[in-house]
Symmetry: C2
Subunit: 310 residues, 2 copies
Amino acid sequence: MHTRLRDGAEFDLVRRFLDVWGDDAAGIGDDAAVLPAVKNARLVATIDSSVENVHFRRDWLTPAEIGYRAAAAALSDLAAMAASPLGILTAIVLPETWLADADQIANGIAEAASGCDAKVLGGDLSGGGELAITISALGAAQRPLLRSGARIGDFIYVTGRLGGPAAAVRAFRSGASPQGKHRGRFAHPIPRLREAIWLAQSGISAGIDISDGLVADLEHVAAASDVSISVDLEHVPAIDGVSQLDAAGSGEEYELAVTSGSELDTKEFERRFGIELTRIGMVEKGAARVTLLDRGTRVASPSGYLHFSK
Amino acid sequence: MHTRLRDGAEFDLVRRFLDVWGDDAAGIGDDAAVLPAVKNARLVATIDSSVENVHFRRDWLTPAEIGYRAAAAALSDLAAMAASPLGILTAIVLPETWLADADQIANGIAEAASGCDAKVLGGDLSGGGELAITISALGAAQRPLLRSGARIGDFIYVTGRLGGPAAAVRAFRSGASPQGKHRGRFAHPIPRLREAIWLAQSGISAGIDISDGLVADLEHVAAASDVSISVDLEHVPAIDGVSQLDAAGSGEEYELAVTSGSELDTKEFERRFGIELTRIGMVEKGAARVTLLDRGTRVASPSGYLHFSK
């Protein structure tokens, strides 16, 4: 408990959240959170919503996983900027039918935050008809990584192995149980914050986290940098049991795609972080778009990841 | 337009928002917003959701008013901390039935932001079944105003005249049209940011913005400061056509209630800001609660403001 609160049912629920968060929460109880001054760094801020039946379905995930995923998605945006997290603010629209799951949702949020050394700085709790968890993540970066920094001649790299979330959603939708590895990548994505800072220190020129899908997100980089990007499908790192084309279209991965003017030390990256860093393509002159090549022949890009209910 | 975006329907909608926001938006287009370093000040951050049928009803307000109110409510939390706004992040869950109103919602958000010299720094757009607008407001304060600073012997002051929002909601609920003045206070509350900074410079000890109702919010101050607060009902400034008891219970006012060890220059305040500053009570020794006195006799407190659907 970090504050004295007034009596009343709403505050009882806030107290329950604070009890669950414990030392993962800081400074809650005023109208706003107060953070220390950020010295010699830019402040980086993002906001992201997870909505029932848009971003997740109740029968697919546990309440803790739903909370975790919502916070991890926002924290991943900080990784995309090579920022170090300061903390998160949480706004939860909680229907009565979810009331009994509130503690577990809070647990999941706390797990994502503490996994990234971020505090839960404050929040807002509303009634409503559908569960919606909105997380604002605040971070600090000396040189924030932008989408607009890719230059002709740069290499394209991606972290980890892609395709798990798409395979899990496909299985869920067909009424099957996804493979454990695929489900894990969907239910428990890991914001690549330490990896992003290491990559930024290695001099990468642009970066993005993969939320819409590798090709779709590289299209954001191509548009922002006004460059053409070619991706070699045969180099796209796919998780076991998923084709490289499906991997290139899989969204909500929260892996990083980056551009670099010099070759990156992929072995050192793997040694440090226990996941792969794979070179998958080049930045080229031409119209601002992504071309997917299968052994030199152009293939149709996978459509950008569509959230399953769209 | 502040960025180059990929083609696609979702991005068309984002473009519409950016067109509406124009110069009120800054730095949108990356995974997160980048703010300048805040020097010699603490960072203050808050988050607040406005949910259809909880915080507003579609037939009561225009889409622009709904957007305005959502942003004003979050910005008012910065006023409660005596912080100067840096900007806001917006997360909108937009059902298809609201798609045609999206520009007007964006207009309302921009109006609230620009009225407080805040930029729209970024956002997130989701599908969903009910409109929910979540705003994270970021600000800077040299000495953030807390709820916990009230001391025995302090005076209690409140800005403006209370009761408009409660009267408007009462009229709406009974199927009547609220009086223009009451409706205006409900539809278009004004975050008291400049007023808060003036009050902080005048040496006030604690502050809060009135979202739950004067008495209910002063109970937060009493609890956080561990003091007793007495409020003289006959001094509570009520808007025309509203009783002082109803004024003391009216929520979503976004006026400020503050405590001060010395008398404040209420005439100077009124001259500067065109609204009243009224002394309404005292901080006293005793149990952490608020006592409402009607010419010296204790009266039952109005219940804390209940959002109309609860």
